[in-house]
Amino acid sequence: MRWRRWAIPLSGVPVLALLAWGLTRDAHTIPSPLPGKPAPDFALQTLNGDSLRLHDLTGQVVLVNFWASWCLACRAEHRVLLDAARRYGPQGLRIVGVVYEDTRDNAQQWITERGGDWVNVLDVGSHTAIQYGLFGVPETFFVGRDGRILYKQIGPLDTAVVDRWVPRLLAASPVPSTTPLPAEPYAEGRSEGHITAGGAARRD
């Protein structure tokens, strides 16, 4: 009979454990439906007016970087991209910037001011952003030689993230896309202190 009495306070323990576990989670992160999937293809106009199809780049390691000139975090990130292009470009890294909700003029001015010789495409109508399940900008998808997304960065990139993933992707030998997934599982990261937009939006 006595033990039963003490069962009451003990019943609180699993609840507390659950809450403690909950603290380690981020409720706002929704896992992307793209784990290990082929990167959705797109054919978009570049800032110069040419056309670019993502699947034409299969066999190469590609960073698909969504950005906009009105995005503050993208400014800091641009330096990281410049650095990545300088160090990994010669080894075959391709960067594709996707301009999100912005005009050609703004994007062109940004490149002129900040440099960067990689290709940028305009996502008119945000159809590509929707296909990629974008939360906001910046977001970057690391696409391997087989055309699959292996890592997704929510928020600005930093050098450590680039150095963790890019060499690994570059080292993988070109494989046809029918082979099983690489041993390295799909991953997703979020930069510290990154605030995604839309926090105030209410359901209807």
Partner: protein, 678 residues
């Protein structure tokens, strides 16, 4: 200067609260009055210091002292003064400061109230210092938060020249000045009955006097909590532009769960007072109420759950978890330890009695609280068990809560109509005759009038039935008095209700709840919604309204830009006035925030939202919602508040009795029959 002053005040308050709590427990244990006196002084000093910190923060906000971190976070030179003042509670740190202020004010009130209660004829009463010590411990926790992880008084050097201003949603409506303080006064106030309960458990005595006290100290925060929840619903309705007022959001649930358990407590405590039954259950309810306030705050402030109100990831989560663990485990252990002293004295005599009604009521409220708790926590549970992200939406909550709410509507009238101990069928038949006829009549009229939604129909019928029973409770004694004394009807009614304020105040609260239930059922069931894109001069129809879009223009204000649309409304062919919904652009918000134009009325609200417009002003997209009887919800809230106030107000006779017998309440035990009827 402000930063230093504010931080120092909170630190000293923290030390004093800690010292005071220790002194209170020592004083309670040893019976040494000097320690207790120190604890009491500390309680008052903590209030003075937190008030100082609060005023310093207000001064810093109003003076735009951006060297204070919190001002730099929520202040802006362009924000109007009113919103600058209320921006104190527009972000995490400030809201905890408001919390601490209200908590310390309650502490000072408890100190003042207990002035003559510690020293009794039978020696020192250790319940008083134990309760004060417990409340000071709660103070320690919140002061710890604002002195460390949620410190709003960090000194910024160099100070920024300007700040972003408060969250755009929060500076879009004056309701933000009312809703958080009301809600917090209710929410935080639940610490007091909790402390009194813990004090009684520690002292090992739960007499009828103490029960009465806890009830009184619960009534006050309960009233504020009710009003705070409704004010929040009203804010949501007036600001968010979706035409609704409740969405089962985790933060809404966090305020609603303690309300449910506190309401259950206010009922079960009557059974305990009257019959000495349900002691363990009653005290569990009041402890749970406080636990749910802490849990609710944890869930919504730590980032564990996603919610509209959730503040961004904050470092206070682990602190709250530790606090919750301490409170949960220690109070449950205390309950287990004292369970023998909480044995029931009375027992149920008959199935048809007010005790039974109270029991059912309590089961329903507890089930309701559990349903809400489960739904709120479910995303977390599901992710822990299955690793899947799920969200629990309105359908779950609605399906489970509507039947419970309907039964409660039924009981709101039936409970008061049943006598204590044992009801006879004769009596029931007599009391129930007219209300039953009225309900049946209403049911037929509604069905003929075309009310086809079964749940809404049932709500209306049950509400009429319960309201009828409540009316009988007022009419029968008034008529008896009128007939025996010859007093006029109004005077007789007044004499009757003021002879037992608690009882009739309670019935007024019940009728307010019935009004709310009718408003909720009508507005949820018969709401119409339309959205059109109109050219200038064109009109569209919703229900009986014809809405014509006249023009749209831009305005510039210091803190925001706005776009206003003008519309002319006709109702059933008659001119109905003009409505001006607007969109606001704040520099800090990515998306525009609307101010819907609402034409409120008891019969129906017409709610108009400007969704979009073309740059040339030739076209606008408007959303119109016609919700019947939304106003009843706010009206019902007012009735609830009036009833609660009436019940709390001490009648002149009672005040005189208390003055002549200062310690009568504490003696408890045997009661004079006349009092037992109260």
């Amino acid at each position: 200067m402000n930063a230093f002053l504010g931080h120092t005040a909170t630190l000293v308050a923290l030390l004093l609260a800690g010292g005071g709590a220790a002194a209170a427990f020592i004083g309670g244990r040893t019976g040494d009055a000097r320690y207790v006196a120190w604890a009491r002084r500390a309680g008052v000093a903590v209030f003075a210091l937190v008030l100082t910190a609060f005023l310093v923060m207000e001064r810093a906000l109003v003076a735009h002292d951006f060297s204070v971190s919190y001002v730099a976070q929520v202040g802006s030179r362009t924000t109007p003064l009113f919103y600058t003042i209320i921006s104190l509670w527009s972000a995490l740190e400030g809201s905890i400061l408001l919390w601490a202020l209200i908590l310390s004010a309650y502490t000072a009130l408890l100190v003042r109230w207990s002035t003559h209660r510690y020293q009794t004829e039978a020696g020192p009463d250790s319940q008083v210092p134990y309760a004060l010590g417990t409340l000071l411990c709660v103070n320690v926790f919140f002061l710890l938060l604002i002195s460390w992880p949620a410190n709003p008084f960090h000194l910024l050097n160099p100070a920024p020249l300007d700040g972003p201003g408060p969250n755009a949603l929060l500076q879009n409506s004056p309701f933000m000045g009312v809703h958080p303080p009301l809600l917090y006064t209710g929410y935080v106030g639940m610490s007091v009955p909790f402390s009194l309960a813990i004090g009684a458990l520690l002292a090992g005595r739960i007499g009828p006097d103490w029960t009465k006290l806890i009830r009184r100290w619960t009534m006050v925060p309960w009233t504020f909590l009710s009003l705070g929840i409704l004010a929040g619903a009203w804010w949501s309705y007036e600001v968010l532009g979706w035409g609704g007022y409740w969405a089962w959001d985790p933060v809404e649930n966090a305020s609603f769960m303690p309300w449910l358990t506190a309401t259950a407590f206010l009922h079960s405590v009557m059974v305990q007072e009257r019959r000495g039954m349900l002691k363990m259950w009653t005290i569990t309810l009041i402890v749970s109420t406080f636990l749910l306030t802490v849990l609710g705050t944890f869930l919504t402030r730590s980032g564990v759950l996603a919610s509209v109100h959730a503040f961004t990831q904050s470092p206070i989560g682990p602190f709250f978890l530790v606090f919750l663990a301490l409170v949960l485990l220690s109070s449950l252990a205390l309950l287990a330890w004292r369970s023998e002293t909480l044995e029931s004295e009375g027992r149920f005599d008959a199935a048809l009695s007010r005790e039974t009604a109270f029991m059912v009521n309590n089961l329903l409220f507890a089930a309701f609280a559990f349903v809400v708790l489960l739904g709120t926590m479910f995303p977390l549970i599901a992710e822990a068990v299955r690793g899947a992200k799920v969200s629990v939406g309105g359908p779950y909550f609605n399906e489970l809560s509507v039947p419970i709410a309907l039964l409660l509507v039924f009981l709101a009238g039936v409970g008061p109509a049943l006598p204590w101990r044992k009801g006879s069928l004769e009596l029931v038949r007599g009391k129930f005759r007219w209300p039953t006829i009225a309900a049946l009549g209403a049911g037929i009229v509604l069905a003929v009038a075309g009310v086809r939604a079964p749940l809404a129909w049932l709500t209306f019928v049950l509400a009429v039935f319960s309201a009828g029973l409540l009316v009988v409770e007022f009419v029968t004694p008034t008529r008896a008095r009128h007939e025996t004394t010859g007093e006029g009807w109004v005077l007789a009614l007044w004499r009757v209700v003021s002879s037992n304020r608690r009882r009739y105040g309670g019935y007024v609260v019940h009728s307010g709840i019935l009004v709310i239930a009718v408003g909720v059922a009508a507005s949820a069931t018969f709401r119409q919604e339309e959205e059109w894109t109109l050219r200038r001069g064109a009109a569209a129809q919703i229900g009986r309204y014809r809405i014509q879009f006249d023009s749209v223009w831009a305005v510039k204000e210091s803190q925001r830009d706005g776009v206003i649309a003008a519309t002319t409304i006709e109702a059933s062919g008659q001119p109905f006035g003009r409505l001006f919904p607007r969109l606001n652009y704040y520099p800090t918000a990515m998306e525009p925030i609307g101010t819907p134009a609402v034409r409120e009325g008891l019969r129906e609200d017409l709610y108009l939202v400007l969704m979009a417009y073309t740059q040339d002003g030739q076209q606008a997209t408007l959303k119109a919602i016609a919700s019947p009887m939304v106003g009843w919800i706010w009206l019902g809230g007012g009735i609830v508040a009036l009833g609660a106030l009436f019940a709390l107000w001490r009648s002149r006779g009672e005040a005189a009795r208390r003055a002549s017998r200062p310690d009568a309440e504490r003696r408890g035990g045997a009661r004079v029959p006349s009092e037992a009827l109260r």
